[in-house]
Structure formats: structure tokens, C-alpha cells
């Protein structure tokens, strides 16, 4: 029989030690972690630090193009990156359901290790809990991260008339991929999550001196939530052209079938950028050199037309407000 995680793996005794050493230390190997102190002792060069935390619960745990482990790294890394911070250190807590397959856990841990190499971030402290069957749904992961702020002035308050809005990738891939995989929907598709760490492309933008006023990864609530929050916070209007927003045809298909909007679907490696007018073409050219942002597109502008609102222009001359997402996503009936 395949090896399972038992309650004793979280008991603090010998089994816990062997799980930590044979699995976590093996893959997350670094000097600070291996020192095994009660807390990690860190040296940072910058005085300005970004600090964030996120918990990851997703069903299913494995999906096309990633798993919960990859999400747990990319998610927290991106939260740091969106503040203009270079991701440095992470902590990581696992909450594991008794009976969870050891092999699956190792696959998840390997995905975390691989994702960390993309931004150079390290896990320097961690915790493992095993809870009785039914206590969690398979596995929950929490990661917290700190990074050094290398670019200042990014804020949802900083959008100004004339600024240009870009999106770094197709929108809706992660949400549609997870939805298609859900047991109750079971759609066959080739859809892959967009899950990715965005430090490299953002670092390149910073090095090139691009003036970025706002930056946000479009996670839950999707593109629509980010644009609406910006419009409201900065008291400006964001006008986007529907035809310029990249959406994969499979995502359009899923949306048409179930009655959803791709702009409301979650993303895990797609960001929205607001740059100074005149910088957009340079920013676009830089983004397109990275695999994770090669489908970037300039989608709209900041205006003062309808303050606090997002306007979606159709290619045939009509327009509507893009309302922020609300309530539970439920498929339409017919």
C-alpha cells in the first residue's frame, strides 16, 4: 500500500522529524532553514520591507499546469512583487488531513521548490500539522513572505487621467481550468492554469525605468475586481476595449456554456498594470519577452468620464459598465 500521512507525522516526535528531514528539508534545502532554530534570523539590505500572507485551499489540489504547492509560492511571491518588492524569504505551514498520500505531498513540495527558483525566494521557516480525517479537505497551505521594496510609488491611489492600462496575459485561464476540473462539471479541456511567479518580468520593467503607477495580480474576482477597485480608489474612470482583452478561446467556450464572464474568473499569474502615458509600448515590448507575460496587451486608458466606474467598449460601438463580481458563481440553467 502507498505511504500515507498519519496523525503521528504531526505529533512532534520521531515521525514528525523524519517527515521534516526527508521531505521538507530535502527539497527546501537552504542554510537558514536547516539551522532548525525556533525562528529564522535574517539579514536584509533594504530598510523598506514588504510583508504578506496568504492561505491556499483549492479543489482539486492538482490541476492542468500546476497544483496547490505551485499556487502557494506564486501567490505570495506575486503579492510581494505587486508592491515593487524583490521576494526574499517565505514561511510555510502545511495543514494535512490524516491519510493524505505521501507521494502527492512530495509532488506538491517539488512544485513549490521549482516555483521558488523562478524568483530566488527561500522558505526559511515552516510548520506542519496533521488533523484527523475531515478536519481539512486534503491539504491547506499557508505561506507568508517578506521582500525588499526596490521600486516605490505603486498604489491603487495613483491612477491618473491619461495613464494606460495593460494586462500581462490572457485572463480567466485559472478560474476556467479549475471550474472545468470540478467534479460536478467535468468538462474535457486542454485549459491550463496561468499560475506563475511574476518577479522576473516586473524586475525587468523596473530596471528599464518604466513608470508604473499601479500593479495588481488579478486573483479572485479577476480583471473586473482589480479595475473596479482602482477606479473607485483613485476616483477615476477606466475605459477598456473588449476586443483588446486577451481571452483564450477555451475560456470563452466555458463562459458561454455556463453563463460566466472571463473578466470575473480568477488568475494566478496574470497582472494588471497602470503606466504613465508614453511608456506603454516599451512596457509591452519588455513583457512580451517573458514566457509568463508574452500574451500581454494594452487594453485601455484612464479617463475622467464616469468617476469610480469601469467602461467596457464593444468593437461595434456600444458600451457598458463592467460591474464588480458579486455572490457565488453559479452556472446558468439553459
Amino acid at each position: 500500500m502507498s505511504k500515507k500521512i498519519l496523525l503521528s507525522h504531526g505529533g512532534g516526535g520521531e515521525e514528525t522529524q523524519s517527515l521534516i528531514k526527508e521531505l521538507f528539508f530535502k527539497h527546501f534545502d537552504n542554510e537558514i532553514l536547516l539551522r532548525m532554530e525556533d525562528a529564522a534570523s535574517l539579514v536584509m539590505e533594504s530598510k523598506k520591507i514588504a510583508f504578506t500572507t496568504d492561505s491556499f485551499t483549492v479543489t482539486p489540489l492538482f490541476f492542468n499546469g500546476g497544483n496547490i504547492g505551485k499556487l502557494a509560492i506564486a501567490g505570495t511571491v506575486n503579492d510581494l512583487v505587486m508592491m515593487g518588492a524583490k521576494p526574499r524569504y517565505l514561511t510555510c505551514s502545511f495543514m494535512i488531513e490524516e491519510g493524505f498520500a505521501y507521494d502527492s505531498l512530495e509532488q506538491i513540495v517539488i512544485a513549490m521548490r521549482d516555483e521558488m527558483t523562478k524568483s530566488g525566494v527561500k522558505i526559511v521557516a515552516g510548520d506542519t500539522k496533521v488533523v484527523p480525517k475531515g478536519g481539512v479537505d486534503g491539504l491547506f497551505i499557508n505561506t507568508s513572505g517578506i521582500g525588499e521594496i526596490v521600486y516605490e510609488g505603486i498604489s491603487a491611489h495613483h491612477l491618473k487621467e491619461g495613464n494606460v492600462i495593460l494586462v500581462s496575459n490572457e485572463v480567466g485561464n485559472h478560474g476556467a481550468c479549475i471550474l472545468a476540473k470540478r467534479e460536478e462539471i467535468e468538462l474535457e479541456s486542454e485549459l491550463k492554469t496561468d499560475c506563475a511567479s511574476l518577479w522576473k518580468p516586473v524586475e525587468a520593467l523596473i530596471h528599464a525605468g518604466i513608470k508604473v503607477n499601479a500593479l495588481r495580480d488579478a486573483t479572485r474576482g479577476g480583471l473586473s475586481a482589480v479595475l473596479n477597485e482602482w477606479a473607485e480608489t483613485s476616483e477615476i474612470c477606466i475605459e477598456v476595449d473588449e476586443a483588446k482583452i486577451p481571452v483564450a478561446s477555451e475560456v470563452k467556450g466555458v463562459c458561454e456554456l455556463l453563463g460566466f464572464e472571463p473578466y470575473e474568473f480568477a488568475n494566478e499569474g496574470t497582472m494588471v498594470l497602470c503606466v504613465e502615458k508614453g511608456e506603454e509600448d516599451k512596457a509591452l515590448a519588455i513583457l512580451r519577452t517573458f514566457v509568463e507575460t508574452q500574451k500581454a496587451s494594452i487594453i485601455g486608458i484612464v479617463s475622467e468620464k464616469y468617476k469610480g466606474k469601469v467602461v467596457l467598449n464593444t468593437p461595434w460601438g456600444s458600451k457598458r459598465f463592467l460591474e464588480p463580481p458579486k455572490g457565488e458563481l453559479l452556472p446558468r440553467i439553459c
Partner: protein, 374 residues
């Protein structure tokens, strides 16, 4: 199989603009077009079709959303059934969001009752098999489009002799509802956009009596924006020629006779109900279906009769859903629209489902009624 594009070609900007120009040129009179189906309401609002059509074309949003037309007392039925011990209640889509007199299925689910929102109705068979010691109740909703799926489930239950699955049937039919709206005499409707997927099942023949009786053109239309634009053009041309017949724009899926196999299956298990109350409209005789008497042992309304409330419940008196459904008022005319009545706390039928007229106006229509600011 070659890949067929069913989206982009039907949203081609050049095609859309060309259709808008031809319609503007040919339309010479004021035309009120009722789209019966909630799917069309959505297309019209989402793609901003009113904004590119001439001012004398007005859309009237009909009673074509199965969630919106469900009277509160029947939602209370679902709540009573889901509250029974040892019971799983399964239904479709956003039915679970709609409040009855006290609570909604969604809230009841949060309190720990087992309520499932299905995408594929057939999943209810699997649920019943996996839970042999529980009552499983399928709260069946929808127009003619979803009825055959319920009939297939009934057939499988009968064949597989499943003894724990019951049906609460709320399937309704389009022609009777349209007739109820038109026969009052006060509805201001000159033509109809015929539903897309209902017609796939029933065939477009079911609208022939309406076109004849009320002298209104009916054009069965697909759901994509160019479908609706093309159908509007066909309506304009019928009206200019003073004709009123049933035309079929959605020929890639709809025939005159429809899906005969599905119709036979429905007929085998289901029959017309003499009365069914529509939320916002009231009683429409013979506008809904129920299980035939020989399947009464599967009918939750029969088996659990003593548990089901019987009081009829109307919407709040500020609600003008009835007038909206008849084309006498628009969502923006309602005093509570967007204020006391929103998609997250709906007061009236048209706001409750994403397919309802008020909900579509709330989501898509605030920027423009015919292009202007609200």
C-alpha cells in the same frame, strides 16, 4: 471533427455594424419587440444592442427565466423538503440563491442542510445511488429546454428501480405564458423574438398560433449578437410587409417539428397541470407540467404533501415585475430597482436570477438606456 467556431463569427464587428445600418435604414415605425427568453435579455444587455439599434426599436423583456417566474410558495416547498431529516435536495444553478418567504436554499445550505447545485441534472442519479439511505429530491425547473433532461432521469429511475429519488416538478411552457400576456389586451408588443433552446426541443411550430392570433411576427433567434440583430431585421421586414408569420433565424439548431424523441419522452412521463402561478403574473392555466398519475409514487408533491405549505405568496407591493413582464414598464421605472432590490437581496422576480430583466439591467444597463446616462 473539424473545429467549428460558434463564437467569433457571430460577434464579427463589421457584420454587427452592417446589420445596424440596414435596420436603421429599413425601420420606419415604432416596434416593441418582446424577447421571451432570459438568454436573449442577457445578449441584448451584455452586448449593448439597444445602443446600436435605432430609437424606434424597443425591447420588452418577457417572462423567460425559469428562476424568476417561480412563486415564493414553491421555493418554500423546496425549503420544506430540504429541511426534512436525512434528505438531499438537488436543483439547478441560481435557484439556490432565491429567497422564499423566510430563507433561501443557499442560507439553508450554510446551516448544514444538504443542498446540491447541479450542472448536469443526470448527476442526481449518481447522488441517489451513493446515498441509498437518504431521500433525494430533484427540484426540477426550467422551460421546455430542460424538461427532457428531467424525463430522462424519470426514465432511468423507473428502469433502475431507484426507490429514494423523488421529483418536485416546476417545468413551465412558453406558449401559454405568451398568450397570458397578450390576451390581457394591455401589453404593448408588436413582435416576438422566439426562444433559442426551447425551440430546439419543441420546434418552431408552437408559435404559429400566436403569430396568427395576435398578428405579431415571431422570429426564432439564436443567442449570439449577430443572431439577434439579424432577427430584428427580419422582424422589421415582416412589419414593413404587413405580415406576421413564424420565421426561423436559428436554423442551425431549430426545425419546425423539433426534437420528436424528447417530446415523446416528456409526454410519456409528464402532463399539463391545470393551474400554475407565475411570479409577477399570477395563475396561468395549463402553463406547467406535473408527473402523470401512474408516477405519483415519485412525485414529491404527493409523497410529502403534508409537509408542503399551501399559502400563496405575492411579491412586495412596491414591485412592478408584472408590468415589466408585460412591456408596460422598464426596470428603471421601478422605485426599488437598484436600491432596496438588488441581485444580492432581490425583492421581485426579475431581479432574482442572472437571466432576469432587472438583474441584466443592474449588471449591464446602468451606463445606457439607449446610449444616454442614467
Amino acid at each position: 471533427m473539424p473545429e467549428v467556431d460558434l463564437i467569433e463569427g457571430f460577434r464579427d464587428p463589421a457584420h454587427m455594424k452592417a446589420l445596424a445600418q440596414v435596420i436603421a435604414k429599413e425601420c420606419v415605425s415604432k416596434i416593441n419587440i418582446m424577447e421571451v427568453c432570459g438568454g436573449h435579455t442577457h445578449t441584448i444587455m451584455k452586448f449593448g444592442l439597444s445602443q446600436i439599434l435605432p430609437d424606434n426599436i424597443e425591447f420588452v423583456h418577457g417572462p423567460g427565466c425559469p428562476v424568476c417566474i417561480m412563486p415564493k410558495e414553491r421555493i418554500d416547498h423546496a425549503i420544506a423538503l430540504a429541511s426534512m431529516p436525512n434528505t438531499i435536495l438537488a436543483t439547478l444553478g441560481d435557484m439556490i440563491r432565491v429567497p422564499g418567504s423566510q430563507t433561501s436554499l443557499q442560507k439553508l445550505r450554510a446551516e448544514g442542510k444538504d443542498i446540491r447545485s447541479l450542472y448536469s441534472p443526470l448527476d442526481v442519479i449518481k447522488i441517489a445511488k451513493e446515498n441509498p439511505d437518504k431521500h433525494v429530491i430533484f427540484f426540477a425547473i426550467g422551460f421546455e429546454t430542460t424538461t427532457p433532461m428531467t424525463s430522462v432521469i424519470i426514465e432511468q429511475v423507473t428502469e433502475q428501480k431507484l426507490s429514494n429519488l423523488y421529483f418536485h416538478i416546476n417545468h413551465v411552457t412558453v406558449p401559454e405564458a405568451v398568450d397570458a400576456i397578450m390576451s390581457g389586451g394591455d401589453a404593448k408588443i408588436d413582435a416576438f423574438l422566439g426562444p433559442s433552446h426551447v425551440s430546439v426541443i419543441t420546434g418552431y411550430k408552437i408559435y404559429e398560433p400566436i403569430a396568427q392570433k395576435y398578428g405579431t411576427p415571431v422570429v426564432v433567434s439564436g443567442f449570439e449578437p449577430t443572431d439577434v440583430m439579424e432577427s430584428v431585421l427580419r422582424i422589421v421586414r415582416q412589419i414593413n410587409a404587413k405580415k406576421s408569420f413564424v420565421d426561423n433565424e436559428y436554423a442551425r439548431a431549430v426545425s419546425r417539428e423539433g426534437n420528436l424523441k424528447a417530446q415523446a419522452l416528456n409526454d410519456k412521463y409528464l402532463e399539463k397541470r391545470s393551474h400554475f402561478r407565475w411570479r409577477g403574473i399570477g395563475d396561468i392555466p395549463y402553463s406547467a407540467l406535473k408527473l402523470r398519475d401512474e408516477y405519483a409514487h415519485l412525485d414529491a408533491e404527493v409523497v410529502f404533501k403534508t409537509l408542503l405549505p399551501t399559502v400563496e405568496l405575492n411579491d412586495h407591493k412596491s414591485c412592478i415585475c408584472g408590468s415589466i413582464l408585460k412591456g408596460l414598464a422598464k426596470p428603471f421605472d421601478c422605485k426599488v430597482f437598484g436600491k432596496a432590490c438588488t441581485p444580492t437581496s432581490p425583492m421581485g422576480s426579475c431581479m432574482v436570477s442572472s437571466e432576469g430583466a432587472c438583474s441584466a439591467y443592474f449588471k449591464y444597463g446602468k451606463l445606457s438606456q439607449k446610449g444616454g446616462m442614467v
